[in-house]
């Protein structure tokens, strides 16, 4: 080995005297590393926001849908049979011991007029416990009461989106609106919740007492779209679910041989499904990123191949004045390592920059994981070193005269 100091000097001189070549060589690494990091960061970021949205559904949430479920949990189409009624809700209220809160969900939709504007939105009939089941705080006003439910009072809470559309963000509490031509009084506004895991704007909605929606908007039919419940604790989820099932089967008078005419989901089921989808997406992004890393690597190899041809004369000169083949090889390797390290660092910085821009100025969320930074860095380094090494090996094995006369 030639002294390490001389080796570094030779590599340093070679890099600085051929700036464009050095830049082009690092470019592949820079692009590859930053692409991998940012792609995976976007995947992780979306996964994280989905998880947060699912948590925002409410803690210990259990949802009962009408209609049975098939094997493997494939839903037969929610509401395909209108098997859930307010009587079921009443039975559950009376009998369930592992349930904290319970609320029917009666969905309707239509034109809403107020504040001189109109807006098409969904109107959801619920019980006073609905907000605590869903962990949904109020921004203004107050929730309606059991008395309001019993008296089918025409009061409404607006989602943030509806409040913005009709009243431009001002507190509309106490204002009158007309929902499908029925006058309502606004008693509050819900806090902003964002999108649900399926991408629907949760704030584009109006809440009203279930009875009001059922009898004043939907014409008095007893069926509800679903029932939301919250278990007393996370540990009691399974038992609570079983209890709900037993109560509903008995109130529906199902024989033991008959299948359920309803289906029960909990938050974990929904989380699982959404997480699986997200992992697929992250994997896909990762694959795209890996491809860009390979493409970057091929770029490096190209530059290396081309420059080795160009540099074979230089290699010839070095060999002629007494460099050994291994000296030349080590120098090329050192250059490749240095360029890969610099390229990798610049790539990492660029990825952090890009993720900052994404998080600050766009709705896309990027979450950089230290693991992937290391992985991309080492992979890029390996690619750079391998692709720097192999073309150089050929040239270093030539005898000096052949290298000098190389064309």
């Amino acid at each position: 080995m030639m002294p390490i100091r001389n080796l570094l000097k030779a590599a340093y001189r070679s890099i600085t005297k051929n700036r464009l070549r050095s830049l082009l060589t690092s470019l592949g690494i820079i692009i590859g590393v930053s692409a991998v990091i940012i792609m995976v960061a976007i995947g992780e970021g979306s996964q994280k926001s989905i998880e947060e949205q699912i948590t925002a559904l409410g803690s210990n949430l259990i949802i009962v849908f009408p209609g049975g479920s098939r094997m493997g949990g494939v839903h037969r189409g929610a509401g395909s049979r209108q098997s859930l009624t307010l009587d079921d809700v009443k039975d559950l209220e009376d009998q369930a011991t592992l349930i904290d809160g319970i609320s029917p969900v009666v969905s309707s939709a239509g034109q809403v007029v107020g504040g001189g504007n109109n807006w098409n939105t969904s109107i959801v009939g619920v019980s006073p416990q609905y907000l605590s089941i869903r962990d949904w705080p109020l921004k203004y006003g107050q929730m309606f009461t059991e008395t309001d439910v019993r008296s089918r009072k025409k009061v409404a809470l607006l989602g943030q989106t509806v409040a913005d559309e009709l009243f431009g963000g001002q507190d509309p509490t106490g204002e009158k609106i007309r929902i499908v031509n029925t006058p309502f009084t606004i008693i509050g506004v819900l806090a902003e919740k964002g999108q649900n895991p399926m991408g629907r704007d949760e704030d584009d909605t109006i809440l009203a007492p279930s009875t009001t929606v059922l009898y004043r908007l939907k014409g008095g039919r007893n069926y509800v779209n679903m029932i939301n419940l919250s278990a007393v604790s996370l540990e009691a989820m399974d038992a609570a679910q079983e209890e709900v099932r037993t109560i509903l089967r008995s109130s529906h008078r199902l024989d033991p041989v008959e299948e359920d005419d309803f289906s029960i989901r909990n938050q974990a089921d929904i989380t699982e499904a959404a997480t699986a989808t997200m992992q697929t997406m992250t994997l896909l992004l990762g694959a795209v990123a890996a491809v860009s890393l390979v493409v970057g690597g091929i770029g490096i190899m190209n530059i290396m191949m081309v420059t080795v041809t160009e540099r074979t004369r230089e290699i010839g000169i070095r060999l002629a004045i007494g460099a050994r083949g291994s000296d030349v090889l080590t120098q090329f390797l050192t250059e490749a390592v240095v360029l890969s390290l610099i390229g990798g660092l610049v790539g990492i910085l660029m990825a952090f920059g890009a993720s900052f821009v994404l998080n600050t100025f766009t709705p896309i969320r990027a979450l950089i994981q230290p693991g992937i930074v290391l992985l991309a860095f080492f992979f890029a380094g390996t690619v750079g070193v391998l692709f720097g090494f192999f073309p150089a090996r050929k040239a270093a094995a030539l005898n000096p005269i052949d290298a000098l006369h190389y064309e």
Partner: protein, 290 residues
């Protein structure tokens, strides 16, 4: 004087597809320490091939080559590299300097690869080598900022920097004009005067006239090996050339080439064992035709 180079029946065959090219067909040559030798011959006669073998840049196909008493034929690639680094300085016709690299850094290069650990101050050594060839004021110039003669002197400084025992130069003046050629020859003669063995290839008689001995190749064999009679002194010629030059400028239209550039300046004495070979004088006529 001790023998520094000894080849015995060295051949070199290039395989070009089906065709075999015999570049050297059995060259036996002895060079003593402190000699200054010119190798001549027409183009394609094998001069460069021989120089490359002598310079350990290329291996002979067969034959024996010993350098300072050591048989070189059996060495490994790395030992070859070390010999090139330690014992031989090689100067090329096309300079072969690293581009975008200062004269000083170019000269320093062989010291990078020195494994003896003797090099204490490579910068100082390189500067000294450049000063020795008269380029002490061009240290930071890159090759494209130097004239041809200066580039060749940088190359010579690079060949000298690790204090080799032999300096080999393959047509060192081939790309240079007359004045610069003489200039470069002053450097070679100077080094030879200081005891260095110098072997150079040239096809110009005027350049060969600065050597003490001329070896002539034809078709890969030595056809003549003779001492130069009335060896020229490059320093004196340079002074004469410069005087002549200024005279020319004084007298417009004068067509006088200096006497030493007529091709008739080279007279050799053939050693007795080679009496069968024609003298260089007659050979020079043939050379001019080619």
């Amino acid at each position: 004087m001790s023998i520094i180079i000894e080849t015995e029946d060295v051949t070199k065959v290039y395989q070009m597809g089906q065709v075999q090219i015999h570049a050297l067909r059995g060259v036996s040559l002895i060079v003593h320490q402190g000699e200054m030798l010119a190798i001549m011959g027409s183009s394609g006669s094998g001069k460069s091939t021989l120089m490359n073998v002598l310079g350990c840049l290329d291996e002979p196909t067969s034959g024996r080559y010993s350098l300072e008493g050591m048989d070189v034929s059996s060495l490994t690639k790395n030992q070859y590299a070390d010999i090139r680094n330690q014992r031989i300085g090689f100067v090329f016709q096309v300079f072969n300097l690293l581009p975008r690299t200062s004269a000083l850094e170019n000269v320093e290069l062989p010291l990078f690869y020195d494994r003896t650990g003797h090099i204490k101050d490579p910068m100082r050594k390189s500067r000294a080598a450049l000063e020795r060839v008269g380029l002490g004021d061009r240290l930071d110039h890159e090759p494209n900022q130097l004239s041809g003669g200066e580039r060749q002197r940088v190359a010579i400084a690079r060949a000298l920097v690790n204090q080799p025992s032999i300096l080999l130069a393959d047509e060192p003046t081939g790309n240079l004009d007359t004045r610069t050629s003489i200039d470069v020859m002053t450097v070679f003669q100077d080094l030879n005067d200081q005891g260095m063995t110098v072997i150079l290839v040239t096809h110009e008689f005027d350049i060969a006239a600065y050597a003490a001995r001329v070896v002539k190749l034809r078709d890969g064999v030595i056809i003549q090996d003779a001492a130069v009679e009335g060896r020229r002194d490059a320093k004196r010629d340079l002074v004469a050339f410069e005087n002549k030059d200024s005279e020319d400028r004084d007298m417009m239209g004068h067509d006088g080439e200096p006497a030493f550039f007529t091709g008739h300046g080279l007279r050799v004495t053939s050693p007795p064992q080679q009496t069968d070979v024609s003298t260089c004088e007659t050979d020079s006529e043939e050379e001019k035709i080619i």
